[in-house]
């Protein structure tokens, strides 16, 4: 058994923390696990992506094309961009708040709203404005943990492990908000 989780977003959205949390959860649950984060510039605004592979014996941290089980996207255009990596019945968990790239801002391209909407025809898409929901909880930064909560519901790992690992990985002052964010995601259907 191998579960392939793809992650995608925009530089600065906190993708590295997400992969770290998922990896630690998998280790605690007794699986082999490997991950990948985008390598490169640390500043914001560019596309970022990563992988987590969970299973009995994982060799490569890279997911072979077309073998992704889940795509957790922090931005709709990035969900579209990486969707080819998914299996036929793959699941997309996506934050619906767009972050407009330079070429859209400078009016050279249209943001592909339609193509993003069409993803629903090919994949199971779980869409949430995690950004707004995060703000409601208290901080837009917790939006990632909402997405993690949705993912957790799909994986066969006890939610208690997720709660412990999230608590371990966030600053003291944000523990309550992140716990609330996880529950919101976990109970989002």
């Amino acid at each position: 058994m191998t579960i392939n989780i793809m992650l995608a977003g925009v530089g600065g959205q906190g993708l590295i923390l997400m992969t770290r949390i998922i990896c630690q959860v998998a280790l605690k649950a007794g699986y082999d696990v490997k991950s990948n984060d985008v390598v490169g510039l640390s500043q914001r605004g560019g596309m970022v992506w990563g992988n987590v592979r969970i299973g009995d014996n994982i060799h490569s941290p890279n997911i072979p094309s077309g073998e992704g089980d889940y795509l957790v996207a922090m931005e709709p255009l990035e969900a579209l961009r990486w969707s080819n990596g998914l299996k036929k019945d793959g699941v997309i968990i996506v934050n619906s708040k767009p972050f407009y790239p330079t070429l859209v801002q400078q009016e050279k391209y249209q943001y592909p709203h339609e193509a993003v909407a069409e993803l629903k025809e090919k994949y199971k898409v779980l869409e949430i404005n995690a950004f707004e929901e995060g703000k409601n909880i208290g901080k837009k930064q917790v939006s990632n943990v909402i997405l993690i909560g949705i993912l957790a519901r799909h994986l066969d790992i006890s939610p208690e492990i997720w709660r412990l690992v999230i608590d371990d990985n966030v600053p003291k002052s944000a523990k309550e908000m992140n716990a609330a964010a996880f529950e919101l995601g976990y109970n989002y259907i």
């Binding site: 790239p101 330079t102 070429l103």
Partner: protein, 603 residues
């Protein structure tokens, strides 16, 4: 103690150094190896630092080793170029305290200006080379490299690639083993590298490598995985091994942990049993060349690219071409072709106004340098005619100016350099500007001082202590330049757009050498968070002056009841730097602070 952790390659190197009893670890921040030193900071038993540049970092580590302490220098691949001078001579001497150089290579150039394969440096400098394939090996090879170095008196290179630096996998932790430094070796003939002494070290280096090669014959990290009935042998190392394993090829695999020197005796004994030998390695043919020099028939780069990463799909395609796979299934692209998303200056970045001003200025030639401001090369600013290497802009602008002077061409020239790069290696080029300086030669140097080494995640540099109480170096750029002998230095606040634009105009017009120190704290590192700005669409004339600054929250949108698209600001992203408001010709952009005050007074 048997504890399992999930670590990145970088974290694993730090842990391996700690466990091995390492004492002195140095670096200059460069992707992909930045986190090694950051992770070592947690261990009181280790002295670690980000030095001013890679050469100094290496020299500090050499000093540690000279005292007999286990020492390590960590840098990105191009950093080794800066450090190559001490490296090439240090590696002539015996190793008093085990020494490891960690080179973060970058196949595919995720965050680098070139793709050099530093295994060639290891060979060039007569070092042994270890090449890990996951975090466990990154940790184990760090310890092994230090102990081999200590035992055989040979400097070792741990070559790791960007993918592995940032990839996480499970690692078994061990306790630290204390290793007492031996103290300074007083055999001066072996450590003072003057010609008469260095001559005799040439054969010493060769003998040392021979000892390591003999050791390689039995090393468990060079592992043969035999497949019954296979007539093909694949020789590989690093991440390529892990990617290969996903494909379950019908071949035996010889996985090398030590890629230089390769035991010739072992290589010949193993390859003899196979009809064909295929080498899979990222970047240049290194293992392949070594084998061919031994007279072993093999193929590698015939099937696999010499550039970029070798992902599962690439290896599959190569093996298919080599006839080892009957079909290739992974030939679809993971990416959908859609709107590209290039990185851009952060919201509130102090560099944004500077490049907006430069774009509108008379200067048509801008020599760029390495740092966040390299992004100015991209659309929509496109304000760099050249970017070569750390600090190169300072030497280059002089050469351009002198060549133009010979032609009597006098158009203005501008070079931009950040504070970190200035201290790293820009300062020498700057001093050199004073040599044979002619009064009429128009050169404008812009030093972008954002008070941190921003691109690699906000590490301190030599002037950070002026702004950060907990940093210890407080070298002021302006007093330093004045002491050197520059006499036309202007300071600007990058967020004061109008005043800054005025000074830029004056200095670019000035026929002579002038320096602008452009101040503004990195918005990310120093957490800029001021009240957001907003656009009044009734005032906005759709001129797009604000949009051209490329600040992420800005966008032209359709407002209800207004035909033309008007500018807008995403208030959740805006950090209140005010630059868009300052470039707006009609004052359509206002601070929410004023809005709030107005509302308060209404009530």
């Amino acid at each position: 103690m048997e504890e399992k952790r999930i670590l990145t390659g970088n974290e694993a190197i730090a842990r391996g150094f700690y466990e091995a009893g390492g004492k002195i670890a140095t670096s200059y921040p460069g992707s992909p190896t930045v986190e090694v030193i950051e992770k070592l900071k947690q261990y009181d038993e280790v002295y670690s630092e980000f030095a001013i540049n890679e050469k100094v970092a290496l020299e500090v580590a050499i000093g540690g080793s000279f005292y007999g302490a286990l020492s390590m220098a960590v840098m990105k691949h191009v950093g080794v170029n800066i450090a190559a001078d001490p490296l090439m001579t240090f590696t002539e001497t015996p190793v008093n305290g085990g020494f490891l150089l960690v080179s973060g290579d970058d196949p595919g150039l995720a965050s680098s200006q070139n793709e050099q394969d530093n295994r060639f440096y290891g060979r060039f400098a007569n070092m042994g080379i270890l090449d890990p394939s996951d975090s466990q090996e990154a940790k184990d090879f760090t310890s092994l490299g230090l102990s081999l170095s200590q035992e055989l008196s040979i400097p070792m290179l741990l070559r790791i690639t960007s993918r592995l630096c940032h990839s996480r996998s499970i690692v078994n932790l061990k306790e630290r083993q204390e290793v007492m430094p031996k103290g300074i070796n007083k055999d001066k003939d072996k450590f003072c590298m003057i010609p008469s002494n260095s001559r005799s070290m040439q054969s010493f280096m060769k003998e040392r490598l021979q000892l390591l090669e003999e050791r390689a014959y039995h090393m468990e990290i060079n592992r043969l995985e035999e497949l019954e009935g296979a007539d093909t042998l694949i020789i590989t190392s690093g991440i390529a091994y892990q990617n290969l394993k996903e494909l379950k090829p019908k071949a035996s695999i010889w996985k090398l942990g030590l890629v230089f020197p390769i035991s010739e005796k072992k290589a010949k004994a193993i390859t003899k049993g196979y009809k064909s030998v295929i080498v899979i390695e990222e970047m240049l043919p290194f293992i392949e060349n070594e084998l061919k020099l031994m007279g072993i028939a093999c193929e590698g780069k015939r099937y696999f690219s010499y550039t970029g990463e070798l992902n599962i799909e690439d290896i599959e395609a190569g093996l298919y071409e080599a006839g080892l796979l009957k079909e290739k299934k992974n030939n679809i692209s993971k990416m959908v072709e859609t709107v590209p998303r290039a990185p851009l200056f952060c919201t509130g970045c102090p560099h944004r106004p500077t490049f907006d001003i430069l774009k509108k200025s008379k200067a048509k030639v801008v020599i760029g340098d390495i740092g966040c401001y390299s992004l100015a090369a991209l659309f929509p600013f496109e304000q760099s005619n050249s970017i070569i290497s750390m600090g190169a802009s300072m030497g280059m602008i002089k050469g351009v100016r002198k060549a133009m002077s010979l032609e009597a061409a006098d158009e203005p020239l501008v070079a931009v350099i950040g504070d970190g790069t200035f201290f790293h290696s820009g300062i020498t080029g700057m001093i050199n500007l004073l040599h044979q300086l002619k009064a009429e030669e128009n050169i404008t140097i812009v030093i972008l001082d954002n008070r941190t080494t921003a691109m690699t995640g906000g590490q301190p540099n030599a002037s950070s202590g002026i702004y950060n109480f907990n940093e210890d170096m407080r070298v002021g750029i302006k007093p330093l330049l004045e002491a050197i002998g520059f006499n036309r230095i202007k300071e600007i606040n990058q967020y004061d757009y109008k005043a800054a634009a005025g000074i830029f105009k004056e200095e670019i017009d000035y026929r002579g050498l002038s320096i602008i120190i452009a101040n503004g704290p990195c918005a990310l590192k120093y957490n800029m968070e001021k009240p957001h700005y907003y656009v009044d669409p009734k005032i906005c004339i759709s001129c797009r002056s604000c949009i051209k600054t490329n600040c992420p929250p800005l966008r032209m949108i359709k407002y209800e009841g207004i035909d033309k698209l008007k500018s807008s600001i995403d208030k959740d992203m805006c950090v209140g730097c005010s630059v868009c408001a300052q470039v707006c010709p009609v004052n359509a952009i206002k601070s929410s602070r004023e809005l709030k005050e107005a509302n308060d007074s209404d009530n």
